[in-house]
Structure formats: structure tokens, C-alpha cells
């Protein structure tokens, strides 16, 4: 019985291998397969010709370079970034504009109520007009993220920006986060994405975007009174609290650091919340910068995970964050999450241990942790190749890259990502988006991906310019076409079966350009391209 089960499992494992291994060739990955694997995981997939380039230069050399993005020129992205107004805004001005929009909306609502106009749809729409600008801002923010993911030469850096943005999730649709999120991405996440975890953690804890999102701006020591009457009543467009709010404290422990099994108690959560009382922000019309409100801070003695915090002040929070960043539970929790992103949904212990050891050795240097993952045997194990299903963002970005496409200036391509299930910055739950196959693969989502692939190849996908001439020449030679699609679009990952099916579909298509669009659409919508 046991032997039967085991042989069945071995058979299953063999059948599940990516094509080159399943065909009974040598189990040692070729330079091409290794290059494709690295490009799939450290980057948003290869552009036409990338696999050959990386294989020729040496995959470890390419990985080293990706770990040092400051040495990679990225002029194309720099040129494109100039068209994003969002990067020119002064955060304080943006905050003041938001305060003005809130004021106008309140005014308009009052007028509508006074005029007796209670028509629900109309009054809603009318009163929403001042906020229109900020909704557009959210769209531009999404578009910028997708443009960078498609076009940046610093691919690993962009992948890590996405990873940390998701790990330290905020929701751009919540009140002040409409204008705080751009600053959060540009000044909190991006500068630390390949830095030290501790610095990133402290930066997020001091970001108005996070403090507002998880209600810490509302959290004050019971009985505390603001020093000036003009501060009473308003903070970030919402009323000040009269007691502690546990939201940030809980997610800090559960999601950002220790993990849900990290060994903390409800008392720890309450004490963490007490430590962070006073961590808030200035009023929007005063710039909405991070501010520590001494008057709101609980000066009593607290105990978290057995450590006493006394004396009060902002320093308590900093000490706590540093302790959390070095806690073995945090190291394991975040290392495992990184391995789930880069190696497998359920990562082997080996790479998690290697990452955690590098973390401990380097005091949380994210580059050192990543290097440990990329050099661990688990990362290069044949079972890791093509083992992960792409998220909607990864699918759309990798498809555009594979088709040699370039996003236009509109948020329409980001809206495609949203329609496939992953609207950027709009995940309301602090967990961020899931990384696991079971979360993303279902029949409806697959059909939507097939539709997007066909539209992309036909040049009909909104928000992207595609020029297939630069990818595969349109030719009447069907075999040459399919070879070209395999090498240039799928990075050589096409199975024999897929090749046969695509070849059959092309048989009676006369127009070479139509045949090419069909072949590319089937390849991008087919099963191989859903994996990485």
C-alpha cells in the first residue's frame, strides 16, 4: 500500500515536471532553462531575446547585477516617469488640496440637503466631484506601477517594491490614503525595498498612510486631551479618538512582523497599541506629515513579549520596532514569505532556513537574504521550475513584456490587471494579495486570461502598444512561426503538445499577420504561460 502510494507520487512528480525534464533529458537544467527560471522569478518574465542574453552573460552574473540596481541604467523608465504628474506633487500641497476637496464636498452636500434634493444618485455624484481629482490620482498611481514593472531594467527592484507594498498593504480608497499613498510608495517603500528590513519597518510605522489605514491616528491614551481647541475634532479628515485603537498594533504583530503564530497574546496587542498612542499625523491642511503627539501618548509602563517599556515617548515605539525586526519569529515569517514568492507557494524548509540564517548574519539586509534564496539548492531544484502560477499582475506584465509591448500613458492596462482580480492599492484587507495558486486559478479567471492574451496579440488590449514585427516576423512558413513564438515569446518553454495544437490551428489561416496574432495569443493564453 505504502509502496504503491509512493510510486504514484513519484509518477505524479515526474508528470508534473516542466517539459524539458519530462521528456527524459538530463535533469541538469540547461543555461537557457536556468535563465528563463531566473527571469520568471526575479523579473516579470523575459522580453524577446532576454533568455539568450542572460544565458550568454551567465545567470549568476545577471542575478548579481539585479541585486545592485544602482549599477543598472534605467533611462527608458526615467523618460517615461516625466509624464506622471504624481511624481512632481509636493506631498504637503497634495494634502492641502485634499483638505480643500473634503471641505468643498461637505459644502456641496449641505447645499444639496438644504435645497431638498435627496435624489440619491444625483446628490452622490454631485458631491463626489471635488474628489474626482484624487480618484484620478489613484489611477495614475496604478498606471505608474504597471509601467515600471513592464519597462524597468531594474526588474528585481520592481518585484521587491511590489512585494513590500503588498506586505505592508494600505488601501488607497480609504479617506486620507487617497493622497497619502503616492508618498507612501515613493518615499517609504521604494527607498527601502532592497535596504534593511528594520529601516523599512520603522519607515512604514512612521508613515501617515499606514497610521491612517490601520486607524492608529485615532488611537490615543484614554482621557488625553489635545492641547489646542483647534486640533480637537479633526485629524486626517476624521474625528479624533478618545481611547486606544488596536488595529495597527495587531496587524504589526500578525502580518508585518511575528506572524500569526508568533507567540504573542491579546495583552501584547493592547500594550503595543498603548506604545503607539500618539503616533499620528498633522492635519491635511498643515501638510499631513508624520507627527508624534505627546499629549495623546500613554506614559504608563507597558510589557510586550516579556520586555518592559517605561518612560514613555516615541523612543518606546522605535525600540519595540527594532526588537520586532530582530525577533526570530519575524525573521522566519518574512523569510518564508519571500521564499513563497521566489521559490514555491509552500516553500521547502531548506531555502527558508538559508534565508533566515542570512537575515540573522546580516542584521536584516534584504539583499543578503535574497542572495541566500537565489543561491539555495531549492531555488534551482527542477521541481521549482515552472512551479508557481502567475498572479494577475505577473500575468499581464509578463505577457506585455513577452509581446514586446509598451504601456501607454493611460491607466487602462492597470485596469486590465484589476479586472483579472488584482486591483493595485485597492486590497482592503491588511493581508495584501495572496501568493498561492489556489487563490488565483479558477475557471472564470482562466477564461479572462485567455481573453486578455488574445486581445493583446491582436493589438486590441486597452492601454498597451504592441508591435509584433519586433518579436516574430510574420511568415507563411508555419513551422518557422511556431518556432519563433516558442523562442521569442515563451522563452523556449513550449511543450510538444502545445506546438502541435497551435500548428493545427494555423493550418487554414491564410494571412500571415493573422496567423501570427493567433499563435501569439494561444501561446500567451495557454497553460505554459500561466506558470513561472
Amino acid at each position: 500500500m505504502r509502496t504503491n502510494l509512493r510510486s504514484l507520487l513519484i509518477l505524479a512528480a515526474v508528470l508534473a515536471l516542466p517539459a524539458p525534464f519530462a521528456r527524459g533529458q538530463s535533469p541538469v537544467p540547461s543555461a537557457q532553462d536556468s535563465a528563463l527560471h531566473a527571469l520568471n522569478r526575479l523579473a516579470y518574465g523575459p522580453r524577446p531575446g532576454d533568455v539568450e542574453r542572460v544565458a550568454r552573460a551567465g545567470v549568476m552574473h545577471w542575478i548579481d547585477l539585479q541585486l545592485a540596481p544602482e549599477r543598472i541604467a534605467d533611462d527608458g523608465v526615467a523618460a517615461r516617469e516625466r509624464s506622471y504628474k504624481i511624481l512632481d506633487y509636493d506631498p504637503a500641497e497634495l494634502a492641502a488640496d485634499f483638505a480643500e476637496a473634503v471641505r468643498q464636498r461637505r459644502e456641496m452636500r449641505r447645499e444639496l440637503i438644504e435645497s431638498g434634493d435627496t435624489g440619491r444618485g444625483r446628490s452622490r455624484k454631485g458631491a463626489g466631484a471635488p474628489m474626482q481629482e484624487f480618484r484620478k490620482l489613484g489611477g495614475e498611481l496604478q498606471a505608474l506601477a504597471v509601467m515600471r514593472a513592464v519597462m524597468s531594467e531594474r526588474q528585481l527592484y520592481e518585484v521587491m517594491v511590489d512585494f513590500w507594498t503588498n506586505h505592508f498593504n494600505v488601501f488607497v480608497g480609504k479617506g486620507a490614503d487617497r493622497f497619502l499613498t503616492p508618498t507612501y510608495i515613493e518615499r517609504t517603500i521604494r527607498p527601502h525595498a532592497l535596504g534593511r528590513f528594520e529601516d523599512l519597518l520603522v519607515a512604514t510605522a512612521q508613515s501617515p498612510a499606514m497610521l491612517f489605514y490601520l486607524d492608529n491616528v485615532q488611537s490615543v491614551a484614554p482621557g488625553s486631551v489635545p492641547p489646542f481647541a483647534r486640533f480637537a475634532g479633526q485629524s486626517g479628515g476624521r474625528r479624533l479618538g478618545t481611547g486606544i485603537n488596536e488595529n495597527y498594533a495587531r496587524e504589526l504583530l500578525e502580518l508585518h512582523t511575528l506572524g500569526v503564530d508568533g507567540g504573542y497574546t491579546q495583552d501584547d496587542v493592547i500594550n503595543v497599541a498603548r506604545i503607539f498612542t500618539g503616533w499620528g499625523m498633522a492635519l491635511p491642511r498643515r501638510g499631513a506629515a508624520f507627527a508624534f503627539h505627546d499629549w495623546a501618548h500613554d506614559r504608563g509602563v507597558k510589557q510586550v513579549l516579556g520586555v518592559k517599556y517605561s518612560g514613555g515617548g516615541m523612543d518606546e515605539g522605535i525600540r519595540l520596532l527594532k526588537a520586532l525586526a530582530r525577533n526570530p519569529a519575524t525573521i522566519h515569517n518574512v523569510s518564508r514569505k519571500l521564499c513563497a514568492r521566489f521559490v514555491a507557494d509552500d516553500p521547502p524548509d531548506g531555502c527558508v532556513d538559508a534565508a533566515a540564517a542570512a537575515w540573522a548574519r546580516s542584521n536584516g539586509d534584504i539583499r543578503a537574504v535574497l542572495r541566500a534564496i537565489f543561491t539555495s539548492p531549492d531555488f534551482w531544484a527542477p521541481s521549482a521550475f515552472q512551479a508557481k502560477v502567475k498572479t494577475p499582475l505577473e500575468f499581464v506584465v509578463s505577457a506585455v513584456r513577452a509581446a514586446g509591448g509598451e504601456p501607454d500613458e493611460t491607466p487602462r492596462l492597470a485596469q486590465v490587471v484589476a479586472r483579472l482580480g488584482q486591483p493595485l492599492y485597492l486590497q482592503t484587507a491588511p493581508t495584501g494579495y495572496a501568493e498561492t495558486e489556489a487563490h488565483w486559478v479558477n475557471s472564470g479567471a482562466l477564461l479572462a486570461r485567455m481573453n486578455a492574451a488574445v486581445a493583446l496579440a491582436a493589438g486590441r488590449l486597452p492601454g498597451v502598444r504592441v508591435d509584433l514585427d519586433g518579436v516574430v516576423p510574420a511568415t507563411a512558413d508555419r513551422d518557422a512561426l511556431v518556432d519563433g513564438v516558442n523562442a521569442r515569446v515563451l522563452g523556449g518553454a513550449m511543450s510538444g503538445r502545445t506546438r502541435t495544437v497551435i500548428r493545427e490551428q494555423l493550418a487554414d489561416v491564410g494571412n500571415p499577420a493573422t496567423a501570427r496574432a493567433l499563435a501569439v495569443g494561444l501561446a500567451l493564453g495557454g497553460p505554459e504561460f500561466q506558470r513561472q
Binding site: L15, N245, E246, G421, T498, P527
Partner: protein, 418 residues
């Protein structure tokens, strides 16, 4: 040349079997190939609505007869004058007033003080437990509705047996039994201007996935193609809402309309799932009006429209609302409520033993509270779910649906008429 469907189904099933997949999939596939996908119109249907974010059960089903309720919530309690009284002690939030006729005709009941035996106040964990059906156990990989589907094969003859409305399949339906996620019935399928081109493209992708997909990609794509064929035949969107039912605008209303369309098109729907967010009312949750009131109005409007639309067919339908936990009895410093413990759930439909607030009410007395602050759980959510599965759907084997839990019929709250 294209592969015939029969070959696709058979070889797809075999490939999955050799990959160690549940052999039930094979039998189901073979069954589907040999039979019409139409199910009987009197098949019992369960519609689950997940209120994500932890609904404040105390302001939904209001214990207006309890003075402590008003003491603890000076700013957000529902004034007695606004409560739609049900039994002298409990009443509906005024936004739920549209549901009162359903209460009066005996097709709507509420269960109070229901929740998880696990103490977590994390949305993430508590939702996970409510969907996996194994509170306290994180390693469970599938959801309880999926396990039910796997162990009750009687209705497994259609790809529409279990459908979730939304872009992703929720945890509650994740697992090896086939289940569909549909974001929009109208847009479900491959988009091509001409039908011939659409059919051809569909066949091409079907052949691609049949040949090269593994694991979840293989089973999900096969479910998708089967569903496309059945949908094309039945065309559920031909059913507009009946009896003057008007669904509220928004995602929930649209989901409920489409669930009704699927039921009417007799595609064999047995389990439907939809979710609705916005219940995490930490700040300014409001009282008779405000944030929570607006969410409840949308919920009530959707339920009332659904019930009216289905009319006579509600005889075989049960709608169950659920939420991961309740909220603190005492309002917080921000005129809101924080994460609590027990909450209230609603059951609606012909088989429901309605017009009652069910479950044992522990009261709001501090001595009776969970951890001194929250409504205590007197009904384990698995007990309620078990009752509905066994008495409404006729589930034969609940042990495998809720592993590690033995439902005790003497503890059933009596949500379903027997």
C-alpha cells in the same frame, strides 16, 4: 482537426487520476459526458453570503430590551423608537425594515450569539476558520463547502453545482471538488465578435489545456469549458427579474440577481456564494443612519429582491449570511466598535423555521461576556452550518465536512423546519 469533447473529458480525467487527484473527478467527468447537464428544478439550493469585515450583530439584530445595550453604546445604539421590533426583546435595524414581511411570513429567522470556538480577533484568521470550517487549525487546505461537494456526489452532474460570484474562488469553495468562480454571467466566455470564431478559439484553448496543463490549471480549465457549453445552451441572462423585484445597485445586488438567474435556468445550481465587504466599522459606524445603516440597507434590499424575484422557487432555497466575528459590546473612542466575538446570522427561505430569533442568548451582563468584553458564543458556527447541510441539503456525512467536530443534533438551533 480538433479534439472531440468526449476524448478531452476522458483523457483529461485520466491524466488527473495519474497525478494523484481525487478519482471522484474522473467519475464526475465521465458522468457529465454521458448525461444532460440539466438538473431538477426542485433541487435544494443554499446561498451563502459572507459579510467580510465582521458585522456588528448587536446593531443588526438589536437587543433593545436590554438596558445594558443602551448603556454601553451612548452614541451608536439604535434608539428604541427606530428599532423594528421582532419579539419584544430583539428588533431589526431600521435599514432591515424591508425584511420584516419575510419575518412575518415565517421565511426569515436570525441566529444570535453564533460564532467561532476560536478566540482570534484577526479578520484574516477568523475568515479563514469560518471558510475552512476548522477553527484553530490553519493547515486545512480546502473549504467546508467544497468538502461537502466532494462527499455528497448526488448533485455533482453539472459544472454549475457550486458557483462563487466574484473574480476569485473563495477559500470556502477551494478544494478538489469542481467549483466555478463567475465575475459576471454575461461576460463569462471567450470574446470574439463572430460565433464561429468564438467556438473555434474555445476549441483551440480547450485542446491546449487538455494537452499541457497540470494540477489546478487542468481541472479549472476543464470546468470552465464545460460550463461554457452549458451556459450557451441555457442562456441564463434571458431571465429578467420577476414580480417587480428591484435589486439595489452595486456588486451584491448584481450577484444576487445572477444567482437567481442561474437558479431559474435549471443548470443544477446547488451551492452559491457571494461576499460583501464594508462591515469593519471601527470609526463612525453610525446609528439608525450612517455607515453601517447604508451597508445593511444594501443587504436587506438584495435579500428582499432575491426573495421576491424567485417567488415560488424560494420553496427550495435557503440564504445564509455569515461573518467572521462580531464587534465589541461597548462602543470605542471613535464612535465605532472593535473586533469582538459572537455575532448574528440570518437564514431566509421556504425551508426556514422563520419568525424567530434562534440560539441561546447569553445576555450582555459583564459576567456572561467573553473575555469580559464581547458577546459570548453559544452556538458554534459549525453546528448551524451542519444543521443546514443535513436538514436542507440532506448531507449524509458531516464528519468529513467538519473534521474533528461531531455535530450534535440536539444542539441544532432549529433554523430549518423538519
Amino acid at each position: 482537426m480538433t479534439i472531440s469533447r468526449r476524448v478531452f473529458v476522458t483523457s483529461g480525467g485520466l491524466a488527473l487520476f495519474s497525478l494523484g487527484f481525487d478519482p471522484l473527478f474522473l467519475s464526475r467527468a465521465a458522468y457529465a459526458a454521458g448525461r444532460s447537464a440539466l438538473g431538477p428544478s426542485d433541487r435544494p439550493v443554499l446561498v451563502c453570503l459572507f459579510q467580510r469585515g465582521a458585522v456588528d450583530g448587536l446593531n443588526m439584530i438589536v437587543p433593545h430590551g436590554d438596558a445594558l445595550y443602551y448603556d454601553e453604546r451612548p452614541r451608536i445604539a439604535i434608539p428604541r423608537a427606530d428599532v423594528v421590533d421582532l419579539d419584544g426583546h430583539f428588533g431589526l435595524h431600521p435599514s432591515l425594515a424591508t425584511l420584516k414581511p419575510l419575518w412575518d411570513n415565517g421565511s426569515l429567522a436570525a441566529i444570535h450569539a453564533v460564532g467561532s470556538p476560536d478566540a482570534t480577533r484577526s479578520h484574516f484568521d477568523a475568515q479563514d476558520y469560518m471558510e475552512s470550517g476548522t477553527p484553530g487549525v490553519k493547515s486545512t487546505s480546502d473549504g467546508w463547502l467544497n468538502r461537502y461537494c466532494r462527499h455528497d456526489q448526488e448533485h455533482a452532474d453539472t459544472p454549475f453545482r457550486a458557483v462563487a460570484f466574484g473574480p476569485q474562488l473563495p477559500r470556502i469553495l477551494a478544494g478538489t471538488a469542481p467549483a466555478l468562480a463567475i465575475d459576471d454571467l454575461q461576460a463569462f466566455g471567450l470574446k470574439m465578435p463572430r460565433e464561429a470564431a468564438r467556438d473555434r478559439l474555445t476549441r483551440a484553448f480547450e485542446a491546449l489545456y487538455e494537452g499541457s496543463a497540470t494540477g489546478l490549471l487542468a481541472s479549472s480549465s476543464q470546468e470552465g469549458f464545460e460550463a461554457l457549453q452549458a451556459l450557451k445552451r441555457a442562456d441564463p441572462t434571458q431571465y429578467t427579474s420577476a414580480n417587480g423585484a428591484e435589486y439595489p445597485p452595486g456588486r451584491l445586488g448584481r450577484s444576487m440577481l445572477q444567482i437567481a438567474q442561474l437558479i431559474k435556468s435549471d443548470l443544477g445550481l446547488q451551492i452559491a456564494f457571494a461576499d460583501v465587504g464594508g462591515w469593519d466599522t471601527h470609526v463612525n459606524q453610525g446609528s439608525s443612519e450612517g455607515q453601517l445603516a447604508a451597508r445593511l440597507r444594501e443587504l436587506a434590499g438584495s435579500l428582499a429582491a432575491f426573495s421576491r424575484d424567485l417567488g415560488e422557487r424560494m420553496r427550495h432555497v435557503v440564504v445564509l449570511t455569515m461573518s467572521e466575528f462580531g464587534r465589541t459590546i461597548r462602543e470605542n473612542g471613535n464612535s465605532g466598535t472593535d473586533h469582538g466575538h459572537a455575532t448574528a446570522m440570518l437564514v431566509l427561505g421556504g425551508p426556514v423555521n422563520g419568525g424567530k430569533v434562534l440560539g441561546r442568548w447569553p445576555g450582555l451582563d459583564p459576567a456572561q461576556r467573553f473575555e469580559g468584553r464581547d458577546v459570548a458564543v453559544t452556538t458554534d458556527f459549525r453546528t448551524l452550518f451542519s444543521e443546514i447541510l443535513s436538514r436542507h441539503l440532506g448531507a449524509p456525512d458531516l464528519g468529513s465536512v467538519f473534521p474533528g467536530f461531531t455535530p450534535d443534533p440536539t444542539r441544532f438551533v432549529g433554523a430549518i423546519r423538519v
